[in-house]
Amino acid sequence: MIAVALSRGHIEILQFLRDRTAVVFTFFFPALLLLLFGTIFGSESSAAGVAASRIFTASMIAYGVLNTAFVTMGSGLALDREDGTLKRLRGTPMPAWAYLIGKALLVTLLSVAEAAVLIGVGVLVFDMPLPPAGHWVTFAWIFLLSVIACSLLGVAVSALVKNARNAGAILNVPVVALQFVSGVFIHPMSQLPDWLEKVASLFPVRWMAQGFRYVFLPPEAEAQEIGGSWDLGMVAMVLGVWCVIGLVLCLWTFRWSSREK
């Protein structure tokens, strides 16, 4: 039975890699944005004396995860519902969890690769030093919680997608909007109106970006965060709560077919 789940993962990855449009326009898009932002604003330094390109690199990993987990999961599921993949699988003895593990393997692999590409750009293009060894442990749990929360939310939101052609457009609205208000594109967040800062703090993206900045930025950058603190406890809590919300929404909204009445 494990073999079936691994076989699903293999098939998912094979299909993703063969879809050149997805590889170029989805997978490499965050790296392209990072190159643009980093080049345009790279020479500026924040109040704490950290190069803007380094801050973008760290924050943009949150975008990377949104892209590979939330968008890929959400649009992939909408498409699988529409093109008959789910209907076909449901008529076979393959268990539903094998399908979901296959998707999870795809999303995990893509997210790791996406993070590696973004960190690679940061190190090679923008001279970002790699963080001390202890920070990688923090990176691992923030990354894992982010991927889980975003994937589950992607599954949940896919239920709202009536037509797979619109999936990218629908899923990218929260992605782009949240990045503007969550300190990814505009940092520090204190530039935002107070109420917007509070609203943004309800969503996971702010906490993902803040956590990744902790991992990759020097300690003096902490002063730039809201409340002057990395607040890792809150990062863990908000992401954990979103994992639970995502799971509940998934169980509540999951449908095998787009036509099921």
């Binding site: 073999a3 079936v4 076989s7 098939i11 094979l14 299909q15 063969r18 879809d19 699988d80 093109d83 008959g84 993949t85 209907k87 076909r88 449901r90 008529g91 076979t92 003895p93 393959m94 268990p95 077919s257 099921e260 009445k261």
Partner: protein, 278 residues
Amino acid sequence: MEAIEVTGLRKTYGDRDAVAGIDLVVARGEIFSLLGPNGAGKTTTVEILEGHRRRTAGDVRVLGEDPGRAGSAWRTRIGIVLQDADDAADLTVHEMVRHVAGFYPNPRRPDEVIELVGLQAKRNSRIRTLSGGQRRRVDVALGIVGGPELLFLDEPTTGFDPEARRQFWDLIRTLAGDGTTIVLTTHYLDEAEALADRLAVVSAGRIVAEGTPATLGGRGAAQARVSWRADGTTRTEQVADPSDLIRHLVATGADLSTLTITRPTLEDTYLSLIGAAR
């Protein structure tokens, strides 16, 4: 034990009955065909039998189990050929058939199945590049790779050219010859006539006639129409048994090179059945 037993099947959407009380028995090893116009409830019925849809009421047994509750062990014994899937477009035929074979405990060999559906030449082609008819043959391959006892085919030859349809019919006969029970829904009456051991016509959610292709809707008992030419004009008579008339014609030396005897075609019978049900 029968392959399928259905009594009093109903499926209601809101206040509309998509299936309004169907009784059905399909024997093991039989090719059974469900005919009916679009929206008659064929697909809904079949999807309930496949376990894809829940029923509102009625008793359903497929291979001895209730498809609404049956688990993966039951699904290893059935095969479903989807009507309009376009999944796995970026995989090759062999990759996809092998992948699906991996879901079953005792699958058929993927290459054997690919050969059976006549796609050896396309074994390593991406499914995206296949023609419509080839694509449907992939669906058949995926439906039979698990070695099912019971195979569901929902309008399998839509979009086939005539030659591809004939080849497809041969494939279905081969499967039936190996003992597979086959449930076929179709719009094509010639297809049902060529393949089905028994068939039922569904209209407005009910079965309005059931029988063999030769006897459906009283077709076997219908009067024969005998035509021949005599004295430069076409003469026609309707008789229950043409034997006496023919003997008479032979005795009187009529020109039998123009003789035709026709009974209502399956299409005539079908159209009058669904016409009467409306």
